[in-house]
Symmetry: D2
């Protein structure tokens, strides 16, 4: 049986453009379905750069104007890998053109933008998803499974951190290619939108709605050279953000993110303490889930490190990869997301995180920034 | 040369009474000095129990009234191991009687009490110390040494947690022997005074003064049987407490404590992120200090786990114990504290934490509880 | 500039057929060169199965007779992923046909076969390589780099283990698809050729020639149903093999492999103790290299865990992948091997392990089996 | 009720003299019994040194001739902490004098000496024990308990190592105070008797009799200055020793010890792989036992790290110490051994390891050295 093509139009060619492209190329071999992903077109303003990217990754054509890409009839899916300040406009146009949309995170610059985007995809009825890829690290998916099975009992605490150290150097500039994450005009915020957004998405998925938050932010380096203006300019992003909060289910939140934690590169960790079981995960050793199971006999109780690589059916996604003991990498989370997106298309049951799901995270992000500014507790708006 | 006796009068015989007594007995063998600790008298209201304790530990006599103990001429040091609500009265009386005082932590029920106690020992001019024993775990002392040598550079973050799980069971009663820590009338507060107090003391020692804090507390189990009244009564302690804060040196604080973190027994951890070095310590593996040293050559950089057991002079206190690789236990921290207390007596330079030092921690504790109650940021009072 | 095609003819479609195919598809995107790998033909006896495999992975054609594949003019490289008892015949024929050859490990069933294979590729002058892929896990490559830089000083000990637990079940059959590794007729040996071969290859690469060995083997389950004959037959493979040895450089070897170590899936570890530095690596956490550097200042010395994911140039292969902190998987080692194979073709300097290199490992394997059988020390033959 | 005195005569005042003395002083407080240990006399050739030791530790008297000590009527127990070459003579004399004997390990210089010693204590009917203290680290005792409960099923592998790095420096002298372990005349052997002896004792206790062994030894530094002769002399001890073996129960042994493993101070580890459960322990983190329990549900299986500090009855010895999460040190193993020795006296059931038990270890040691010398497999003699 011939497979149905799924023709991708990719906007952007940076780190995420590469990660998504690798997933599009891998998915058919590891997660075969009735669809065949076709790398139809890559789009970016710089013609030379996008041509080079397209050649390397096998995109059949290029565009330099995203509006033209969206108009093309031979494109089924638009993948938005631009800086955050472009998400809204592109997504709304793509929805209007009837394209399915895969958008990088965070969904938008703020909640109002996010609401417009959700309205657009819902009105157009197009499939939509946001690249909160960590949900699909097998160890994280296993955590979700254990929670859904009720193994944790009542949950008391949810703790998450995302620690990096790459901006400690004060002579690192802000803005432009590769550095737009330091420029609030392009990124919307600093670690909140870049890093905490991941932690919040996972947390809502695992532990439900956050009701209220109280946050503190700090910008350690106050001014940096701006690569686009050539001038030293004020830094407007948050270099670090810590917040406390309360979940609808009565549990307590403690979240922290920074780019000034010397020694940590991408230390995204979460820990959940339930009455009957606790869970811990760490992106630096992403193939492991640690659990403490109180139901185990007293003298044998301890923190157990599960090497989530079993291909016998016990561990999510792993039967499609290698044999037990052999770890897959960070990149596989994107392959899983594409596989699930296709599975959603085929089954008619959309797989999350949808734009609507991502709007919930956006509501928390806005509440955090509002709280930090006002030095007060803030209720999280409903999505 | 005959040694000078240091005659101890111990008030209380619980967990801390035992830990201190073990230290008094060990100190002469491992840290010889010109003083000889003499277990002169043990004091508690229950005559049978205190007799049993005194026999087991070798105290020469017993008392059932702490006022009588303080009046005795043959006592040089009063060790206060009672519930917190007795600290002030005993300490002030002991100071008035000219006794040296070793007081369990937290210093007092609140800042006003603490101020009275500081005034009393300063007026009397008696040696005084508070049992914040974790300063003297060799790995923690090594952390202090590295900070004092300026190895961390500018400090950005200080993170501490103290997690336990022993009160999850809702049918655990409150109050009375062994359970007074669940009764606010005896303990003053819950995890704040019991656990966070340790974290705050270490943090002030390592990172300096906390300027302002914003806290959240929770009491998960609202009512418990009270062993003294026999009735189900409201629980007034904090079961969990999280706070954010800002240090005088510009770094950010993230602290958390709870007795509802399933799988953790006494997981006191701290992490400090400096520009040039980061440090991490964990009470569950108390003989290790983890460091990340940015000054190491690029390709060799990693988190290094120092087994703090070297007896060649590199590791604090360890030359007095065994040989490299052989860990000492939790109990040794008390032995070190007694050794340093005596060293302070002999050198004339008091060793901390003094009552005054402990008052600083009390000021943070009061600010936290005030903040949690008012849901607002609170400035920490000066000690 | 048009790239030069490198047309692959793959023989076999099992676990390794998939792993290699993934590498062929990935290499052009992550390690661009002047060559383009083309999946030209897949070959296996079962026409339906090979067709299914070819469709899934994008091979342009199929064959059911490996001799026909070798005769095809449109094939540049033969990849041998068959059971071990087919390696020799195929490799010699492929060499005679002037094909480059990538052969799965171990090279052969025994040393005499290996010698014939080496002679064949050397006579034909064809590029040749053996899939000892662990050399190209970035953490292992970093270990090689540190040794080559002379950082370890005199080496005293080399210790390696490869522990699994998948054959403990006594009702697991032997022989046939997926189970040929339990059948000595197809595999040559048990854990020696399957697992220790990897350990030995890495060890020779890192620490040089092994002079003499003394081994012990055991077959815990003596009989198993044979899937090809349908009868219970004697098990002739080694289930476990331990050996001691002496290296040419004066260091001591301790190697062990088993499929009866409950709890270990693919725990390949090695540790090297040198006068100035020790190294440790573990396949279960393959992205980490642990080092102890004696040249570090005394009080800071510890075992350091390097997260080998730096993309700034410090860590081998990693600048071609993601950003620091994001781990790549087991599969990437094959991608690296293809990249290096191509680099060898382009530079004219063959990249190891060549057939000749792999023959050295074969000499150790034969010596081990000989030693275990004779219960004596055996000198390792020169390759 | 008055306690029965147990008057100790200690011979030696080095590292072990201190460790035992600490245990004698602690045992009454932590493990009360009907006996009271009395530090009656310390004995060593150097009158000044032994006086200093006696004063520091509270021994009531001193002797400079061990024969006089043994003749004293006011001594109940002789504790032998001399170099190994004195064990036999002292033990036989002490037995003849009717003293109970606690002897440091290894029991003797060789099997014939050991047999004489066993005969002497058995003829005299005196209580006897050897200080293989690691049996009584709570995590190790827990391992024994799990094995005795049959939790491991059939055992396939026993692996042990004891790695140090303190003799790498070639200018370290041999012989004399603190360095007699490098002198074969005083120690009998090197790492075999010093370190492997511990591993073998634990292994026989946990896994039963070793039938046959095949060993390799090495002396890396061939000559060292001898502190007693002042001359450079040949080094006769084994710096490193590796051996393979077979147990009576069909499992395989892999043991290794060295003083040339840079980065390891006292890394005594053992791992046992059984059909249903595997166990791992490590002296550097002595308060933890790691287990893999195959009976746990598939997706939850992992290596679990048990923090062996529970005081509720689950963990051996721990109800006598502190509260969960608070680790005890290396020194506590001696306290436990004294407690059990007394319990053996009171119950009439001698607690091991007795001299007879230690002779079994001696038989393995002799077989190892014999095997290494002859480069052959050697059967282990029956004790």
């Amino acid at each position: 049986m011939a497979k149905k093509p799924l023709r991708v139009g990719m906007i952007g060619y940076g780190f995420m453009g590469r990660a998504h492209s690798n997933a599009y190329k891998q998915v058919g071999q590891f997660f075969p379905s009735n669809h065949e992903v076709v790398l139809q077109a890559a789009c970016a303003r710089n013609a030379d750069e996008v041509k080079k990217f397209a050649d390397q990754w096998g995109y059949a054509s290029t565009e330099t104007d995203w509006r033209k890409l969206i108009e093309r009839k031979d494109i089924d899916v638009i993948d938005i890998c631009t800086p955050n300040n472009m998400h809204k406009e592109i997504a709304i146009a793509a929805a209007a053109a009837g394209k399915a949309i895969l958008c990088e995170k965070p969904l938008a610059m703020n909640v109002p933008e996010g609401r417009e985007m959700v309205a657009a995809v819902e009105k157009a009825g197009v499939p939509n998803m946001v690249w909160y890829n960590y949900r699909r690290i097998p160890a994280v998916t296993l955590a979700k499974k254990l929670i859904d099975e009720g193994r944790l009992g009542k949950i008391f605490h949810y703790r998450a951190k995302f620690l990096q150290d790459w901006t400690i150097k004060s002579d690192l500039p802000q803005g432009g290619q590769g550095l737009w994450r330091l420029d609030a005009a392009a990124a919307g915020s600093g670690v909140s939108g870049d890093l905490l957004a991941h932690c919040i998405d996972t947390s809502i998925w695992l532990n439900g709605r956050l009701d209220s938050v109280c946050a503190m932010t700090e910008t350690f380096v106050k001014e940096r050279m701006h690569t686009l203006t050539g001038k030293v300019e004020k830094v407007s992003i948050d270099d670090a953000c810590t917040f406390m909060g309360r979940y609808e289910n009565g549990s307590l939140a403690n979240f922290e993110s920074t780019r000034y934690a010397r020694g940590h590169k991408a230390l995204y960790t979460f820990e959940i303490n339930g009455e009957d079981m606790s869970l811990f995960w760490d992106l630096h050793d992403l193939h492991r889930l640690q659990i403490f199971d109180y139901k185990v006999e007293g003298k044998l109780r301890g923190w157990s490190s599960i090497h989530v690589t079993d291909n016998g059916g016990d561990h999510p996604y792993m039967k499609n990869w290698w044999v037990p003991g052999l770890a897959i990498g960070y990149d596989s989370s994107f392959t899983h997301q594409v596989a699930d997106f296709i599975q959603g298309l085929e089954s008619g049951t959309p797989q999350g995180p949808t734009f609507k799901d991502a709007l919930e995270t956006q509501c928390v992000l806005d509440a955090i920034l509002d709280s930090a500014k006002g030095q007060k507790w803030v209720d999280v708006a409903k999505a």
